[in-house]
């Protein structure tokens, strides 16, 4: 078995996030995820500080590490200066690196985030942009969002937007040369490698689950499954 604890220690967020937990449970008391999910950050911190590799492997393959909302409220309140959310972030990074994330329903969702937010970064230079928020996938945006999508140009013009055009302003077109720079940054710093890792293990999982997988876009059975699947066993 790999030494997962040693691998986690290479992530500065783990090193910085875990000093010594005294199990007081303040992080759990303040945690918005613990409010509604079957989730207890205190237990995660307590477990990883034991260094028990078999238990860490279970965690890396579980839904548990994907319940945190990264609001970081725990960082403010821990009397020992720990940051449980940083520990969770390092666990998520390792889970993806090792391909364990596809073992859990919540972990598999990383594919959906990569294919939406991740692709937006390269396509537009933004994580989120009006034209990339489809009303069908975001019903809670309500009738105003349908209206904005139908009348984008006129609405943004009145509000000083510069949608899809060169120059300054909201939703301006990010120049091609800039998007090339972003891509190079991702290549040099491991961002592209993480994208490829998510793709590789997701494709393998789709085959295992007998679901259609396409190399691009969101119009495929596997995306639909991971974006919407909910076994209703996550909440308290």
């Amino acid at each position: 078995m790999e030494n997962y604890h040693a691998m986690l220690m290479k992530d500065i967020r783990f090193e910085e996030g875990l000093n010594a937990c005294m199990n007081c449970g303040v992080c759990t008391a303040i945690c918005p995820a613990a409010e509604f999910y079957e989730y207890d950050p205190r237990k995660i911190v307590d477990m990883v500080q034991t260094g028990d590799n078999a238990e860490i492997e279970k965690l890396l393959k579980s839904d548990t590490i994907w319940y945190c909302g990264e609001c970081m409220s725990c960082k403010t309140r821990c009397p020992r200066g720990n940051t449980p959310a940083f520990i969770v972030m390092s666990l998520r990074t390792l889970s993806q690196k090792l391909g364990f994330f596809t073992d859990s329903e919540k972990g598999r969702q990383q594919f959906a985030i990569k294919r939406t937010v991740g692709e937006n970064i390269f396509k537009y230079g933004y994580c989120v942009a009006t034209y990339a928020v489809s009303p069908e996938m975001h019903l809670e945006q309500g009738p105003i969002w349908d209206y904005i999508i139908d009348h984008t140009k006129e609405i943004y013009e009145r509000l000083g937007g510069n949608i899809g055009e060169p120059g300054e302003g909201p939703l301006r077109k990010i120049p091609e040369a800039t998007r090339v720079e972003l891509k190079k940054i991702f290549e040099v710093t491991g961002g592209t490698e993480l994208f490829n890792t998510i793709e590789k293990y997701s494709k393998e999982k789709a085959e295992e689950m007998g679901l259609e997988f396409k190399d691009e876009g969101i119009d495929n059975e596997y995306f639909n499954e991971v974006f919407k699947a909910n076994n209703n066993k996550h909440t308290l």
């Binding site: 403010t76 230079g125 509000l159 000083g160 937007g161 940054i185 991702f186």
Partner: protein, 353 residues
Amino acid sequence: MKEEGKKRIWSDYQKEIADDHFFYVRSCIRQTFFPGSEQFFLHFMRNILGKDVFENPSHTSCTGIGYHGDIVPLRTIMSVVARHFALMKESGYKNIAISCVTSFGIYTEILETWKHFPEELEQTRADLFKATGREFDIPENVAHTSDIIYKFRNEIADKAKYPLINKITGEPLKCVEHIGCHYAKMFPKHGVGGAEFPSVLSGMIDSWGGQVVDYPERRHCCGFGFRQYLVQANRGYSLSNTMKKFNSMQPFKPDLVLTNCPGCNMFMDKWQYTAKEMDGTVYGENGESIPVLTYEELAGLVLGYNPWDLGLQFHMVQSEPLLRKLGINFDPDDKFRTKDGKQMPVPKKLINA
């Protein structure tokens, strides 16, 4: 306690905010959902206060939503942010103005990381140079755009056309303020008032004549949770946390919610619509929902700007109940018109309309 000791303790909660010459970086969420707010900020700074605020069109997303969605590595986002610092250096600026709380949290996390792990700073310098040939300096001053509005809040109060007073009752408007977790919960010293006494929004409300509502879940997260909203299967988390806040504030009968963070604003607006659709729940008085405003939208109203040029009509919860309380004589026929005054179709089923 001696005066000197008091000063030393309170110095931890003070923030130095630059006065002029800002390098401005936009927000993905704000320019998508509240483009009028970003444009009002620039108009106010440049044309009303006469300040120098520079925007380089080549800046991009900070990729913070990807980072907190765990698909962008820390090493990658450090170089994306460093690239913005490089653009700032090339443009001759030393003060950065950040238009998004998620981005602000990213910037503060990275700056603190570099301070505690200098080898990470050197790695980022090498990465950015290898990828782009660019070099950067660390900014001298880092401000969220609300910090800057806070700094100039009294100038706004001096010019106020519509202070935050209910014109019908003569009472101060009851204002809920929502700071947004990533503003000061992570690195308190970067926020006005820190994590314990955050006054960036309450300072504006006080200065403009309103009354700040204190309620039990005042500091609870709006419920964004990044992946908990980005993925449809998880959105119950986001909705449930927002409803927890609204249930807590409801007995205090707020007239408005003022937000610092674009995500919080969008969720507190859109989840009110969802709650109403689900089972008819509304959190305001008289069967109405509570308008949720950005600090620029509120500053604009106080200064007497046309609410429809600020973009208030593009929230799900419409602001007319608030405009009436403020005594603003708005033109309903101007609400859905183009820049050139051409009438557009009127959207249906908006809340409070």
